[in-house]
């Protein structure tokens, strides 16, 4: 019965449908094209380059395809492995500190009261984030200057002898770690603050009725809400530290010796000093793979949906 009465509309429907079928594509096209232009195309280009002998300063050699030769060379390159290991050490040095400080600051800001103070602090947290990496490096050079740097002045106040930060391998590593922590702790704090504000008030209060320990509250009630943010921070930072260049370069150029020679500094050297684009692309692709693997690991280890 009903189908009989709506007989005419189905004849018009193909017109509507053809319009409707393409509409979503049209809406998506700009985003997809942009993504292709700024993300996929360069990546594909890097993949292709990584399969070639591609040195910009040896144009007369041409750019022949060499298969996986670049990858094999990179994997066999002990400098690459060393710098990667150093980068990993850097990651495990700065991340726990940034996370711990970030959570502490976030908890302090999450407490009720001090409305004006909190607003001021929240804004000032953005300052390190908004500072260019290279400028952070320059600031670092000043802070850790042996003779007139702030770091040694602090040390002197506490009765410790000044340290030759940038001239000492461990000191230099510590110095770049400190600057990284300075720059990124606020980011962690803001992410965690957002996570804390996701905890429904009454859930937090219910927990406060069951335990007096802020630590237990953090561990059992707030932490689950922090995990998505934590995952994001870990992923972002693993990608970011793998390409951390400007700050370290302006501060130490990877020295003294190889103390702060992170993998990004090495890749930059291969790519833009030696101009061996093939090898540099292979290194970059390997790091991309590493980033993806790490991201999957972080997601499966930490990411839990809460609703």
């Amino acid at each position: 019965m009903a189908s009989l009465t709506i007989d005419p509309p189905p004849r018009r429907r193909p017109v509507c449908l053809s319009h409707g079928r393409w509409t979503p594509f049209l809406f998506l096209a700009p985003a997809v094209l942009t993504l292709f232009a700024i993300g996929i195309y360069p990546t594909l280009f890097a993949v292709v380059t990584s399969l070639r002998h591609y040195n910009l300063t040896r144009t007369h050699d041409g750019f022949p395809f060499v298969g996986l030769h670049n990858y094999i060379a990179v994997l066999a390159d002990h400098t690459f492995r060393e710098t990667l290991a150093r980068t990993a050490l850097f990651y495990v040095t700065v991340m726990p500190v940034e996370l711990a400080l970030g959570v502490t600051i976030a908890l302090a800001l999450h407490r009720p009261g001090w409305t004006l103070m909190r607003a001021v602090v929240r804004v000032s947290l953005v300052v390190p984030l908004a500072t260019t990496y290279a400028v952070v490096g320059l600031i670092g050079r000043l802070i850790f200057n042996r003779d007139f740097g702030v770091a040694n002045q602090f040390a002197n106040w506490f009765g410790m002898p000044g340290l030759d930060w940038l001239g000492d391998p461990r000191g230099a590593f510590a110095a770049i770690a400190v600057m990284d922590i300075w720059q990124w702790t606020p980011f962690c704090a803001l992410i965690f603050l957002a996570g804390l504000s996701m905890v429904p008030n009454e859930v937090e209060e219910a927990a406060r009725l069951e335990t007096s320990s802020p630590l237990a509250l953090l561990r059992h009630v707030q932490l689950p809400f922090l995990l998505p943010g934590l995952t994001a921070v870990l992923i972002l930072r693993s990608a970011d530290i793998l390409k951390l260049f400007d700050m370290v370069f302006t501060m130490t150029r990877g020295g003294p010796g190889a103390a702060t020679d992170l993998v990004s500094i090495y890749i930059q050297r291969v790519g833009f000093r030696v101009f061996d684009m093939g090898t540099a692309s292979a290194q970059a692709i390997l790091l991309l793979v590493l980033t993806i693997v790490l991201s999957r690991l972080f997601i499966s280890a930490f990411y839990r949906e809460i609703d």
């Binding site: 429904p200 009454e202 859930v203 209060e205 219910a206 927990a207 406060r208 009725l209 069951e210 335990t211 007096s212 320990s213 237990a216 059992h220 009630v221 689950p224 839990r304 809460i306 609703d307």
Partner: protein
């Protein structure tokens, strides 16, 4: 024995006073209901008892101990929230055992208590589910279960039923009442719903604007409201109020006059000396359920019928008195009457309330 004692408690947020010096006590095992319109401070008062907010002034005692400075978890209270406030990342069992774990209760004891609570609340088959997989009523039962397992000395309920639909609300109300009987624990219950207040409470505390209006048993509040606010708040439908003037006072007997009254006046015996003089403007309060069309009562209202609502076994008559005031009558059975028909609504003088110009009961 005063189990809960609230002593002149004040709560201010900045310049705004939310609770302005409230004092009350509750016996052990008593079911106390805070009731009042929204913004009256009833929830704040509950949070002060729980310790979730700090008092600005005054003291709170539980079981003879001053807990004013004691952190919430150490007060031995359990609270059920309007939004249930279950831990979203824990299943039902974990939700109920969290508090006990925090108290380092042995595992088998936790197991036993959770099982017991689950049995009482019929949650046995839901123990492994997450809150998001439960219905509203089930969530509320889990919230109650979480409170029960800790065996608190004081239960606090913050509008626990207002997120439920009417039918479920009725069921849960009965469950809570039964729970109170079974456990015999002191409970403080916040609601804006006077039906919940009347049915559950041993004693009701009526709050308005951060002050106590009246404390008493449901019957006391119903029979002897101290002012028009309480009189209007307790009872459903709301009490009818008519403006009257005092015609004469003789001892305990007062004659009031109003154009709405059939014959222009009515005589009431208040059974206590009347502090009013001729010519005073008063309010005459009559509950809808006490009005009977063409009944025998001494107070007779001359009204015209506006509209009838048929509730099945009962009917609600919306009328307009001769003086212009609206008056509602609740009567058993059905009423066959046409619109604009004149009706005399009669009430027994014993069921008439008089309030002075400030709203205080005479």
């Amino acid at each position: 024995m005063e189990f809960l004692k609230i002593d002149n408690v004040v709560k201010k947020y900045g310049d705004a006073t939310v609770i302005g010096g409230v004092g009350l006590t509750a016996r052990e095992g008593e079911f106390v209901v805070f009731v009042g319109p929204s913004g009256c401070g009833k929830s704040t008062l509950l949070r002060l008892i729980a310790g979730l907010d700090e008092v600005s002034d005054g003291r709170i005692h539980i079981d003879g101990i001053d807990v004013t400075e004691v952190p919430p978890a150490a007060r031995g209270v359990a609270m059920v929230f309007q939004s249930y406030a279950l831990y979203p990342h824990m299943n039902v069992r974990q939700n109920m055992s969290f508090g006990l774990k925090m108290l380092d209760t042995p595992a088998d004891e936790i197991q036993r208590r959770v099982a017991e609570a689950a049995r009482i609340l019929k949650l046995e088959h839901l123990l492994e589910r997450r809150p998001k997989e439960l219905s509203g009523g089930q969530r509320q039962r889990v919230a109650i279960g979480r409170a029960i397992v800790r065996k608190p000395r004081l239960f606090l309920f913050d509008e626990p039923l207002s997120n439920l639909d009417a039918e479920l609300r009725g069921e849960m109300r009965v469950e809570i009442a039964r729970l109170h009987q079974d456990l015999g624990v002191t409970m403080v219950y916040v609601t804006h719903d006077q039906v919940e207040a009347m049915t559950l409470a041993d004693r009701i505390v009526v709050l308005r604007g951060g002050h106590v209006e009246q404390i008493g048993t449901p019957a006391e509040l119903y029979d002897h409201p101290v002012n028009t606010f309480v009189a209007g708040f307790i009872g459903s439908p709301k009490m009818n109020f008519l403006s009257v003037t005092v015609a004469s006072v003789e001892g305990t007997v007062v004659r009031v006059a109003s154009p709405s009254l059939a014959g222009g006046s009515a005589t009431l015996d208040l059974a206590h000396p009347v502090v009013a003089r001729s010519g005073d403007a008063l309010s005459l309060g009559l509950r809808p359920e006490h009005l009977v069309p063409d009944g025998p009562g001494a107070v007779r209202l001359a009204t015209v019928l506006d509209y009838v609502e048929n509730l099945g076994g009962q009917s609600l008559l919306y009328t307009r008195a001769a003086g212009g005031e609206a008056a509602i009558c609740l009567l058993q059975g059905r009423h066959q009457a046409a619109r604009h028909e004149a009706i005399a609504l009669c009430a027994d003088a014993a069921h008439a309330y008089l309030f002075d110009g400030d709203g205080h009961a005479l």
